[in-house]
């Protein structure tokens, strides 16, 4: 077994294990932490695919942003130590059978699909980031200026929205 293969299996197994733990653990706080591990393992997979930039973003935004956000919200809603109710057997069975069926179906699709590769050079990672930056602000084909600007508006809106909703107004202001 090659090293890269080994690492792939290793990280994948870890990721899936943590993933399963994330959705099965009884404690919400632990669940968030397992999520953290899962995400880090995914970042590792990105590394293996030479997408270091994405791996970095994954770690920064997801692990550093979203998971922290989730953790904060846990504390805000006083859920940190709460033991969640275990789903009933019926729920587990039905949910798992639906999920397994779905998985089976999608896997069947993937196996039967014929992927036509368009071979080309995998860009070196140092070059990659520069290209990402250039493409991000390009107006032409394969330029992402529009999504870039749009997402900025979205983030502004999310900011405004979050403030409007979650901001606890003093009684007098209402």
């Amino acid at each position: 077994m090659e090293v890269s293969s080994f690492f792939f299996y290793f990280f994948s197994a870890l990721m899936l294990t943590f993933g399963v733990l994330t959705v099965t653990t009884k404690q919400l706080f632990r669940s968030a932490i397992y999520l953290l591990f899962t995400l880090i393992n995914i970042a590792a997979l990105y590394f293996m695919l030479n997408f270091e930039f994405i791996a970095a973003v994954q770690v920064v935004v997801y692990v550093g942003g979203i998971v922290v956000l989730i953790l904060f919200s846990l504390f805000l809603t006083q859920q940190a130590g709460v033991h969640m109710t275990r789903p009933s057997l019926q729920q587990v069975l039905s949910a798992s059978s639906i999920s397994l069926a779905g998985f089976g179906f999608v896997w069947w699709l993937i196996v039967n699909a014929d992927f036509h590769a368009m071979p080309g050079e995998i860009s070196p990672s140092n070059y990659q980031v520069a290209q990402v930056g250039r493409q991000m602000l390009s107006f032409g084909r394969d330029g992402y200026i529009l999504p870039f600007e749009a997402v900025s508006i979205l983030l502004l809106a999310a900011l405004v929205g979050c403030v409007a909703i979650a901001y606890k107004q003093p009684k007098s202001e209402l």
Binding site: A95, I98, A101, G102, F105, L109
Partner: protein, 641 residues
Amino acid sequence: MDFSLTIWILILPLATFLITGLLGNKFPKKISGILGTLSIGVAALLALNIAYNYFFISGKIDEVYQTITPLKYSWLSFSPTLSIDMGIILDPISVMMLVVVTFVSFMVHLYSFSYMKDEPRYHIFFSFLSLFSFSMLGLVVASNIFQMYIFWELVGVSSFLLIGFYYDKPSAVAASKKAFIVTRFADLGFLIGILLLSFYSESLDFQTIIERLSSPDSSFLHSATAASFIGASAMTWALCLIFIGGAGKSAMFPLHIWLPDAMEGPTPVSALIHAATMVVAGVFLVARLFPLYHLIPTAQHLVMYVGAFSALFAAVIACTQTDIKRILAFSTMSQIGYMMFALGVSGYGGEEGLGYTASMFHLFTHAMFKALLFLGAGAVIHHVHSNELSAMGGMRKQMPVTNILFLLACLAISGVPPLSGFFSKEEILTAAFNGNKMIYGVGILTAGLTAFYMFRLYYSIFWNKPQEHHANGHHKEADASMLIALGVLGIGTVAAGFIPFTNYITSDGELFESEFHLNLAMIAVAAGLLGIAIATAFYLKKNSRSDKFAAATGGLLRYARNKFYIDEIYLFVTKKIIFNLLSAPAAWIDKNIVDRTMVLSGEVTSMVSDEIKTMQSGKVYDYVIYFFLGVIALSVLAVFY
């Protein structure tokens, strides 16, 4: 002579109907009476004039009376071949009927003028009488079988209106309903008969129908006799069905039940409609289509047997009734039976067609004496304010003129020479003798019974009891106008017999001289006299002979008195079968099955809606599960479709 003047005979009563009906309450009520009487009087004169012109001046060509159609308007055209034409047909029978109808109607108008004088709805009464006269006249001159049907229905409704004239009397309302419905039922036969005939002859015109269906080599007749349904040809069906219509109107067994009840109407109405004119419409109808009946023996036999049976049947019942008008009603039925079986036994053409002539002759004379009888009875009823024989008796002193005229009419109907009834009945019996011996026997028997019950009636009114009933005793004779009417009809009763009918009316228009058969006449007269004698013995003086006789006959008399329970059978059929077995279940089904299904479809929808509401459980994870299942289903469908 311009025969198109005939239209005025129809227009006059119609105009009177509209004027008195719509505006009658605007002017003094006498005016309505005068107007009605005058207009029908003028019409009667016109009719006489036309009859004179037709029979004696211009109606004959080569010794054969022609059929003249002076007027014809297309009224409603169904298709290029079939259309209802409103027209006037003049041939011997229609001209005779014109005279009979206008004449009797005129007399009845005259009579009613004073008879109804206390009635607040006087103008309505005259208006209805005019409507009836119009309809009846339209019926007799109809040139188109559908035109006849139209007026046939119109006389029906006028009869309905007049029977129910006293509409606040429940019995009158019931009687009018019964008359209308029973005749309507019979008319159904007429209608389908018309449809059948018109389909095969491709015409609705009387003359065309007869022309096309009576010539033996016509293709129309061939197809009409070739088509068959349940063992009888279309032609037979058509004629039998049309006869059902005629039988209904003419109160033949078993459709006679409405006639006795119809006596709930004012007496002049009974005289006009239910004795002299409308009830003979059935006879007239058969006579009108006689060339066709003659071709189809089955149909003609039906006419004959029904006529003969009704004659005897009604006579038996008449012997047991105690209501003066009902006796007369059954007598009418019996006499119409005579006319019917006369047609039934008749042949076609020349002397063979004696029965046909006799039937028309009897129709004519019967109109006279039966109208007289009714109007006389009306005078009596007017006097005693009751219809029951038990309330009468010994009135010969109080009402001498009525007494004599009534006696005259009774003699006429009993066939005593030389009154009119004798001649016509003699001709009928001769025809029956030539045609069918059994029918002849029935005729003789009926003649005897007729004489018996008529004199039973006569004695019970005018003799029987001493004059104690109305203690005030003074003359209470009818008013002048009533007496004039009675008198004129009396003259008619006496004189009508002497008209040589075979010179005017024959089955095919060719004239012949009738022979007088003394032997046959003797038998008939003897039967009549026997009947009178028995009646004299039973009823001249009050005695118990009749009761003993009644006891001797046992149950038969009870059956007869109850009119052989025919009414009850009808009641059973309508109430129990139609209402309870057809109508009630239909209504139940409509409400509980058909409508319920409609409502149920709505209820099921809302039930389903209630059942599936749990899908929308309010829990977001459930929504997502449905979403996911939907995705899977959608993609499976998409992939495997």
